[in-house]
């Protein structure tokens, strides 16, 4: 209730004091009256009945007001007061009609006892007032009190003695005193704890309680119709009058409050209207904002009923799925969901409806109006009504097709890379006989195919299939299981066409043109392996569980492309290897032939020179014997002839010796050892001492190196070169110089002379066997010396040549590698 100014507030604080004083004063007055006028007795039933009736009526009126006013009041204590007053009133009304005797006292005593007891209930905690909440309580209570009152009138004999020889008995005194104490206690409670919101009301009601309490206590000192007896009636009357005043005051306050309230209500209404207006505007603004967010969101947003009907969709969602808003709102989300995604989506939706989850996220596919598939990321969360019932879903739909495409492209790329690596690996790691199996298995795995084959085109143009899915191969009942398909027998099925067109072909129709007994082919993809424009092989897979798709075809095509360069290189390598093997074989047999021929030649040279010497010796020996024994005994011609025979035999001897030596350079050479060329040359010059002295030659040499060589052969080279220089000196006194220098890691030796020199035309020829440049008459010699030198130098891994021109002398040069040649 709205607080309002109270004019009686000054008196209020004093009311308990007044009440206490009143009680004490009332009791004191009663005592005094009893003492001063003990004989006073005024027996008038009419006055008594009037007093009681007024009190009873006042009591009942107040009771009705209190009981009926109970609703809307905060405190149920007033209700209990109301009941108490009701009981008191009903009993007092009956009391007013009863003239005398026990019934007369009993009804009064019962009335104050009922009122006191009910008033005292105010001490009981408010939660105990369950009675107050029952609508029937006043009726039951009133009926019981009325019935007990009537019963006391009908059956007065049942009542205890209330009056005896003109005085109240202890029973009646006790009942009134107890009731008075109960009233007093209720008054005390009211002073301390307000039951009404209005303090004045509380005070006045406390005053009533005290007055009734005082009257109850005063009863103990009274006699019927005596002065104090009338006094406590007066008190009771006063109490009820106060009560009536209270009620009147309550009404006054109520009506004042009511007026005030009306104004308030108006104000409140206006205020509320203002608030409603504001809120409505706010709501409208909010709605507008949300609508804007909803409509302009970069993601699709939809409100979806639990059964899947679209309640509302934003334009972005319409854009994603390609439908108009109206078209969508006619149907359900299930209508445009990809069948594969329906089940997981519905499961999640059901879980959400069942309260297992609040929301869910799902990657799923919608069909657009155009029939295309669009990948979306769906976030759906459930909104419930106030009562907790599922109301609708808020779904946020994000188009992730691009993302998905990128992911798929990436995944495809990754898989291809992996596949490429595995194919490369297979070729690297596996021997020729395994690699085809390995690569085919890879292709079968990737293509999810039951079987297949992998082959290459050989040099003759036939398709050679070193590998086929083994179990299929053994299942085949075809008579000819040849794995070589000559080009003319290819026919016109899918794979030969693929080979001829150099493109990957596929068919999801069962093949009808397969040999009898061949396992049935339901679907097939054939990819030619094309390298540098040539179909060099074929990879062929068949019988996937479902139809081959464009992706499958692309994949096999990719595999074929991947295989192509490797297979091409491998086939080329095989061809090269075959050519190389052939060349190597030819080289080997040529070398063998050469070696054999060389051996034979050496053997021949050796044997020939050896065996030739035998008859030669005979010729020479007996010619000499002949000359010795018969010289001068025959004619001069005979002597000359014998001379020619001997000379011829001797020359032949030299030639044979030279040939023998030449043939033995390779086969009888010594192991290369550290050779000091200085001592070699010293020895050579010692051997040639005589010739040098004869020709008066001047031979000089530089410091010579040490190297790995066959010292005897090196000595032979120097010997031949120096003796040649001594021999072919022309008319000059021979001047010969031997030198050595390092040239590109080889030792280069030089023997130069001041002889007539050699025409460059003959520079090569001089090193050939039995080649002579001079007439025998001019120079001795077999024509073997330089050939032997050449062969020795070559055995040492060097070369020999001559630098000269006629008249300039000659310089013979040869090289010997420093470390020698093993």
């Amino acid at each position: 209730m709205v607080e309002s100014a109270n004019p009686a507030s000054a008196a209020e604080a004093r009311i308990p004091l007044i009440a206490a004083t009143l009680t004490v004063a009332a009791m004191a007055v009663a005592f005094a009256a009893n003492w001063l006028w003990p004989e006073f007795s005024w027996q008038t039933y009419t006055v008594h009945s009037a007093v009681e009736a007024v009190a009873a009526v006042a009591s009942v009126l107040v009771a009705i007001i209190l009981i009926s006013a109970k609703e809307g009041e905060g405190r149920s204590g007033k209700y209990v007061f109301g009941l108490g007053l009701l009981g008191m009133g009903l009993l007092d009304i009956q009391h007013a009609f009863v003239a005398e005797g026990d019934g007369f006292v009993f009804l009064h005593s019962a009335a104050v006892l009922v009122g006191g007891s009910m008033f005292a209930l105010v001490w009981v905690p408010s939660t105990g007032f369950w009675l107050a909440r029952q609508r029937a309580t006043p009726w039951i209570f009133g009926s019981v009190v009325l019935a007990s009152g009537l019963a006391s009138i009908v059956w007065p004999d049942l009542l205890p003695d209330m009056v005896e020889s003109g005085r109240f008995t202890s029973v009646s005194i006790a009942a009134n005193v107890i009731a008075g104490v109960l009233f007093l206690s209720a008054g005390a409670y009211l002073v301390r704890n307000p039951v009404w919101s209005d303090r004045l009301e509380n005070s006045l009601f406390a005053l009533v309680a005290f007055a009734l309490g005082a009257s109850g206590v005063v009863f103990a000192y009274s006699e019927p119709w005596g002065l104090s007896w009338w006094l406590w009636h007066a008190y009771r009357l006063a109490a009820f009058l106060v009560l009536l005043g209270l009620v009147a005051h309550g009404y006054a306050i109520l009506s004042a409050n009511l007026r005030l309230s009306l104004v308030d209500v108006q104000k409140h209404r206006d205020h509320l209207e203002d608030l409603v207006g504001e809120r409505t505007a706010e709501l409208a603004y909010s709605e507008q904002r949300f609508r804007a967010i909803f409509e302009q969101a970069a993601v699709g947003i939809a409100l979806v009923a639990p059964d899947g009907r679209w309640i509302d969709v934003n334009s972005r969602l319409c854009e994603i799925v390609g439908y108009d808003r109206e078209e969508l709102l006619e149907g359900k989300f299930q209508d445009i969901t990809h069948p594969d995604d329906l089940e997981p989506g519905m499961a999640l939706l059901q879980e959400t409806l069942d309260g297992v989850r609040d929301s869910y996220v799902l990657e799923k596919r919608y069909y657009t109006k155009a029939g295309a598939v669009v990948w979306v990321n769906l976030f759906a969360s459930l909104v419930c009504s106030r009562s907790g019932e599922p109301d609708y879903f808020v779904s946020v739909v994000e188009d992730i097709s691009e993302q998905k495409k990128t992911t798929e492209a990436l995944e495809l790329w990754r898989r291809n890379e992996q596949l490429n690596a595995r194919i490369g690996d297979a070729f690297l790691k596996h021997a020729d006989d395994k690699v085809f199996d390995e690569v085919l298995n890879l292709a079968l795995e990737v293509m999810e195919s039951e079987f297949g084959s992998l082959g290459y085109v050989d040099d003759a143009g036939a398709l050679v299939v070193p590998t086929m899915t083994r179990h299929i191969w053994t299942q085949c009942e075809v008579a000819d299981k040849s794995i070589v398909f000559p080009r003319e027998e290819w026919g016109d099925t899918i794979w030969p066409r693929a080979m001829r067109q150099k493109e990957t072909l596929f068919s999801n129709e069962p093949s009808t043109r397969i040999p009898e007994g061949h396992v049935p082919i339901s679907r097939t993809v054939a990819a030619p392996i094309v390298d540098r424009g040539e179909a060099i092989g074929l990879i062929h897979v068949a019988n996937k569980a479902s139809d081959y798709t464009r992706e499958d075809v692309g994949r096999l095509d990719m595999i074929a492309r991947r295989i192509a360069p490797i297979l091409g290189a491998r086939l080329q390598r095989d061809r090269n290897e075959r050519a190389r093997d052939k060349a190597a074989e030819e080289l080997r047999s040529t070398a063998e032939r050469l070696r054999r021929s060389n051996d034979e030649l050496q053997q021949f040279a050796y044997v020939a020179s050896h065996d030739l010497q035998e008859p030669l010796r005979m010729v020479s020996s007996f010619a000499q014997l002949l000359a010795e024994r018969y010289e001068g005994r025959l004619d001069t011609n005979a002597d000359e002839f014998i001379g020619f025979v001997v000379e011829g035999a001797n020359r032949m001897q030299d030639l044979i010796q030279g040939l023998l030596e030449f043939s033995r350079i390779e086969s009888r050479g010594a192991v290369f050892e550290a050779t000091d060329c200085n001592s070699v040359i010293e020895d050579v010059l010692t051997d040639l001492q005589m010739a040098i002295e004869e020709t008066d030659a001047k031979v000089t040499y530089d410091r010579m190196p040490r190297l790995q060589a066959d010292d005897r052969q090196i000595a032979r080279v120097f010997l031949n070169l120096v003796s040649n220089a001594l021999k072919f000196c022309g008319d000059n006194t021979p001047k010969i110089h031997i030198s050595a220098e390092m040239q590109n890691g080889d030792w280069q030796f030089s023997v130069s002379d001041n002889g007539p020199g050699i025409d460059p035309r003959y520079h090569d020829r001089v090193f050939q066997i039995f080649q002579r440049l001079n007439r025998r008459e001019d120079y001795e010699g077999t024509g073997m010396g330089l050939a032997i030198c050449k062969r020795i130098v070559e055995r040492h891994g060097g070369r020999i040549w001559v630098e000269s021109s006629p008249g300039e002398g000659a310089e013979f040069l040869f090289t010997i590698p420093q470390g020698g040649v093993s």
Partner: protein, 148 residues
């Protein structure tokens, strides 16, 4: 002393070349020591002679063997090997006289315990000189094993 030997020195020449036989005979004909030259033409005959077999039952065991290496039937190396492995024959000095100058022939012969290896000179004078040297050395200088 050797010089006081009552019988001529027995020489066995194993040589298939009649020219060489003749030349050897020529050379030895003027020898200082009296000698008897017996000639066989192949290796088998040489062994028969040395072992006194077949037609050579009455052959006298030689004091010196002149052995050519190139022989028909059984070559000089085999003959040398057999002679030097026979306890009776191995004491007989063997002079290998051959045209071969090959090192391996020389080595091989010495390994088979040839007593000396001589290369047949091509010219007559040389040959005669060699044979005479052999004669001089082996028949006059060297003390040969005593007869049984």
């Amino acid at each position: 002393m050797i010089h006081s030997r009552p019988r001529p020195i027995q020489i066995l020449l194993v040589e298939d070349n009649p020219g060489d036989v003749r030349l050897t005979r020529e050379a030895l004909s003027s020898a200082k020591v009296s000698n008897a030259l017996n000639v066989v033409n192949d290796g088998e005959a040489a062994m028969d002679y040395l072992c006194q077999r077949g037609e050579y039952v009455d052959a006298v065991r030689p004091d010196l063997i002149l052995l050519d290496l190139n022989l028909p039937k059984k070559n000089g190396r085999e003959v040398l090997a057999e002679v030097k492995s026979d306890p009776e024959l191995k004491r007989i000095p063997v002079v290998v006289l051959t045209i071969s100058k090959a090192d391996e022939d020389i080595l091989h012969s010495y390994n088979l315990q040839a007593n000396c290896y001589i290369n047949k000179p091509v010219d007559l004078a040389g040959f005669l000189k060699v044979v005479q040297s052999v004669e001089e050395f082996w028949l006059t200088v060297v003390a040969l094993p005593p007869d049984r």
